[in-house]
């Protein structure tokens, strides 16, 4: 019988745990060689030329990229039971979204202190903009700007898990199906869970109804928060309504394709794929003070009145914050 393979004990250049499988000496092939090279000959090169420091950052980046590709090629990375792949998020998904966050929409984030550094919490936000970029931007804000760099585990519609290419990415980014079982499981594991209760009603609403929050589902998220005792952190996003101003909804086309709506914006489908470029509106994300649920106790989840009240409280908080921040914004693209 062979025992399960150990992981390498060494640390990578960045200080992360090495993910390569270890040999009998507890090191992977790569680190064994590195350490062996470092030890016996302390002055390997007689420094033939001054180190190319101009290129040092590039070389460091390249080394990390090459190591990452090697890990992917060998399958040497780990995902959790939901399929969350932090290695891929760190090296591919977040770098793709970051330019949108920083330069395209120039997102300003406030109130991050309301999101706990550890332990469960349910982040509840408004949903708009045809494609769920608002959810992605909230996730980037929490990953990049929150002091604890928290991963937001979002609850998504089952369509997201049935579309080729989108389905595995949604899972690898840490999302899962919007159902009570998954949400409860994540919160019980101490994760930060994101939910957008307006769903398609919010995402696919026409431009003239911008910033008017839709019905908050049936308040299932409040029930889960109460049962697990996780605090609710409302988050208000301003700016997402203008990225794809939806002038009309081609219901028949949508039905034909199996989508919840088919948007017509000033640029889509008129400009074809170019029309899929979102408009560079100015964004503001504000996390509101958390609403405590633990003090109400899990039995409060049985009381429909409490559920309605809490749902309304969360919705009103978001709506008011959205209005306040809209007034403060100089212009749509300001």
């Amino acid at each position: 019988m062979t025992p399960p393979r150990e992981r390498c004990h060494a640390r990578t250049r960045k200080g992360d745990r090495c993910r390569n499988p270890a040999g009998p000496d507890g090191l992977c092939a790569l680190h064994r060689r590195q350490l062996a090279q470092a030890a016996p000959d302390p002055a390997p090169d007689p420094a033939p030329e001054p180190a190319p420091d101009r290129f040092a950052p590039f070389l460091e980046w390249a080394e990390e990229a090459v190591e990452f590709l090697g890990r992917r090629l060998l399958g040497e990375y780990e995902v959790d039971e939901f399929g969350h792949d932090p290695d891929l998020v760190e090296h591919v998904l977040a770098p793709l979204l970051r330019p949108l966050y920083r330069h395209w929409w120039r997102v300003e984030t406030r109130g991050l202190e309301h999101v706990p550094d550890s332990g469960p919490a349910l982040v509840v936000g408004n949903h708009a903009g045809t494609l769920p970029f608002d959810a992605l931007m909230v996730a980037v804000a929490l990953l990049d700007e929150h002091p604890a760099h928290r991963s937001l585990r979002m609850l998504a519609a089952d369509l997201a898990f049935d579309l080729p290419v989108v389905a595995p990415l949604a899972r690898k980014a840490g999302n899962t199906l919007a159902c009570a079982e998954d949400a409860t499981r994540l919160l019980e594991a101490g994760e930060l869970v994101g939910v957008w209760p307006e769903g398609y009603k919010g995402l696919g609403k026409p431009y003239r109804e911008r910033y008017q929050l839709q019905r908050f589902g049936r308040g299932g998220f409040v029930e889960i928060a109460l049962r697990t005792g996780a605090p609710i952190v409302p988050v208000a996003v301003v700016g997402s309504e203008e990225i794809y101003p939806m002038l009309a909804n081609l219901r028949r086309v949508a039905r034909l394709l199996g989508f919840p709506y088919f948007p017509v914006t000033p640029t889509f489908p008129a400009l074809g794929p170019l029309g899929a470029i979102p408009l560079p509106s100015k964004w503001l994300i504000e996390f509101c003070p958390p609403i405590d649920t633990a003090s109400l106790g899990p039995e409060a989840a049985m009381d429909p009145m409490t559920l309605f009240d809490l749902t309304d409280q969360v919705r009103d908080t978001i709506q008011q914050t959205v209005h306040r921040n809209l007034l403060a914004r100089r212009s749509v693209f300001g």
Binding site: M1, T2, P4, R5, P21, A29, L30, E49, P50, P52, R54, F55, F58, L59, A62, E63, V66, E67, L69, G70, R72, L73, L74, G75, Y77, E78, V79, D80, E81, F82, G83, D85, D158, L159, F161, D162, L163, P164, V165, V166, A167, P168, R171, K172, T176, L177, C179, E181, D182, R185
Partner: protein, 347 residues
């Protein structure tokens, strides 16, 4: 008096291993190994072999007269071609179980029934919860092995009602891998290229063959409570990851063509349609009930179990050494290039 155990499906790799392990236990007095087929290696002495179909009257006589106290039903198969076609597979799985349980109903000494089932009972769709627990309501798979397994589980449960003195333990096992396992999924990974559904990367769980034997042995001999338990190695492995660990190239097939390809590939690996959906949507089961109530903690994680299978059974086309060498070569090339640039470019 020692334990007298009857094992069905005894000639296949899991059954053969279990029978061998049972025969080594001093408290086991008799093992009856039921299978029509010849085992890969002969059974030890303590084992009485019964070369019959589950539907045969000889089985009924043995169950009733040999003083059997435990019946381990491992005879449900997921391989239509090996069973002689889908119809015949269903016959064996479902009617065989009915016959076995009908015989067991009249077995006076029977105290325990252990059913080897599968996590395939949960099916595989996009709208599934990420992690299945035993009590979650699930859509009934409409065909194939999953449907058979559900029907077999239902018969086991109705047997439990009719014979309350018999403890019925249903083990829903994840896909098994290991140096000696031969099933449709291991044959899939042994293909020169692994066809996948384009744009999907399901989460899979694996159970090492040693853990399979261990959990069965423990349930048969230990103080196992009745109930239904998921059994799988810890953690999950993505299909893409498994294919890379296997060192094989993946061949992504667009969804509309999947069924045609599956038909062709299915002939070699003996795939049924619901296994194709499994390779599209995947499936993960929660194993905490088995840990808490059966006290069973698998020794191998899903990843390690698969790595062991890949290391012992597969010839990798892409090896670790090759990738590490490539990494070094790319880096040294880049270093040379930047050194050259640094020297040649004006400050």
């Amino acid at each position: 008096m020692g334990r007298r155990v009857l094992v069905t499906g005894a000639a296949r790799s899991t059954g053969r291993r279990l029978v061998g392990a049972l025969a080594e236990e001093p408290e086991v007095e008799l093992v009856v190994a039921v299978d029509e087929q010849e085992p890969a290696e002969p059974f030890p002495d303590k084992v009485e072999r019964l070369v019959v179909d589950l539907r045969s009257p000889a089985l009924v006589r043995t169950v009733q007269s040999a003083g059997i106290d435990t019946c381990a039903h491992l005879g449900v198969t997921a391989e239509p071609r090996a069973a002689g076609g889908r119809v015949s597979m269903k016959e064996r799985n479902v009617l065989g179980t009915m016959q076995l349980l009908a015989a067991a109903y009249h077995a006076p000494d029977l105290r325990r029934l252990v059913l080897k089932s599968t996590t395939a009972v949960y099916g595989a769709t996009a709208a599934d919860p990420a992690v299945w627990t035993e009590s979650m309501p699930h859509e009934t798979p409409r065909h194939g092995f999953g449907k058979d397994a559900i029907e077999v589980e239902d018969y086991a449960r109705s047997f439990e009602r009719r014979r309350p003195d018999v403890a019925v333990t249903v083990l829903r096992l994840a896909n098994q891998v290991g140096p000696n396992v031969d099933n449709p999924l291991t044959r899939y990974f042994e293909l020169p290229v692994c066809p996948t559904v384009l744009g999907f990367d399901p989460r899979l769980q694996f159970l090492h063959e040693e853990d399979t034997a261990e959990v069965l042995l423990r349930t048969i001999l230990g103080p196992a409570p009745d109930g239904t338990f998921n059994v799988a190695g810890d953690g999950v492995v993505l299909l893409s990851q498994a294919i890379r660990i296997a060192g094989k190239p993946a061949l992504p097939i667009p969804e509309p063509l999947v069924n045609q390809v599956a038909e062709v590939v299915g002939r070699t690996v003996d795939f049924s349609p619901e296994q194709v959906r499994f390779l599209q949507y995947g499936r993960v089961a929660d194993t905490s009930a088995a840990a808490e109530q059966l006290g069973f903690l698998p020794k191998w994680t899903s990843l390690h179990a698969f790595e062991d299978f890949a290391a012992t059974r597969l010839r990798k086309l892409v090896t670790e050494e090759q990738v590490l060498r490539l990494e070094r070569e790319v880096m040294s090339l880049l270093r040379q290039a930047t050194t050259w640039l640094a020297r040649e470019l004006p400050r």
